[in-house]
Symmetry: C3
Subunit: 132 residues, 3 copies
């Protein structure tokens, strides 16, 4: 269901680092938003050095954009962003000053996976049971 | 006006497949949201196998993110997501279990094309007439 | 804090052009949204010619997606989108008919930078002072 998109420059992240970060994001998301980690997608965009700028200068931040279904509490969303930001720094070695995590959401009713409209938050179990 | 961004791994989609899918997304969007297909943008990000993960493991889903102007009905947005998800599976051959379509929206007043702020839903004709 | 993502085809933008556009976007954002330009991130995705379509045909628009914290006025967001669209055409030479700027936002409470939750609009100074 969720999609986390990490954007940085080439050579910032080794393959092992990407796999480890994807695993940790899946774990954090599963714990806070009550969705099995099997549904958590993580995408990495690794760009040329002249394709990423902060303050008009080439830079190497790690920008994480997370999409989740609308309807989770603000407190849970804050916790999600905070724990993922911490994980990014710990796993990649990039200092927190260069790590930005932004959560976005939109209604589950406008999202489809496995051919079915996603469940509202709290309705996950019935949705998964019906996927038989 | 709308932008559909499809993210998957390299070699999942042939060039012909991308063109066919872009055409079908434009057709579906035009029909449901009443915007000529000439305004429909479709982007493909095709990533290395070690840049896309589901559940912490390398995977090849097709993730579609659609941006539309805020103000369409929830029913239309559900129909849009559902029809596009069906089209993705039919055209790419990727099973629906690996296809996720997410629609997002924001106010037309915060979007500019052709140098002009986009019209609110329902005001498209006047906007296009004025583009002279 | 903000992230502007520019998507176009390869060879549409020279490196100098990207740097100039990133600088101008940072300047415009800083002026309108009262955040120092040091916080403005600009990302460029440059795709193969068969990865970007308008109306089902290969095309070379410049698609700009801006993320900002929720809570700025609609008028400011309109101005931001309009000034950035104008800057894109002026700096890249791409005609405005092929330039689309879309602003999106989500709550500051769901975004983390430098290990801290972002400030609500209007609270930037206190947040920056506390970053010691």
């Amino acid at each position: 269901m969720p999609v986390y998109t990490c954007t940085t420059t080439q050579s910032t992240l080794a393959t092992d680092t990407k796999a480890a970060l994807a695993t940790e994001i899946a774990r954090i998301h599963a714990e806070i938003n009550h969705v099995p980690s099997t549904y958590v997608n993580v995408v990495f965009h690794e760009l040329a050095p002249d394709s990423l700028y902060t303050d008009g200068r080439p830079a190497s931040p790690v920008l994480v954009n997370g999409w989740v279904r609308e309807g989770h509490s603000a407190a849970d969303t804050t916790r999600l962003a905070t724990e993922i930001a911490t994980a990014v720094s710990r796993i990649t070695g990039v200092p927190s000053s260069r790590v930005l995590v932004v959560m976005q959401s939109s209604p589950a009713s406008g999202a489809v996976e496995g051919g079915r409209v996603l469940p509202e938050p709290g309705q996950e179990q019935a949705w998964m049971d019906a996927s038989g």
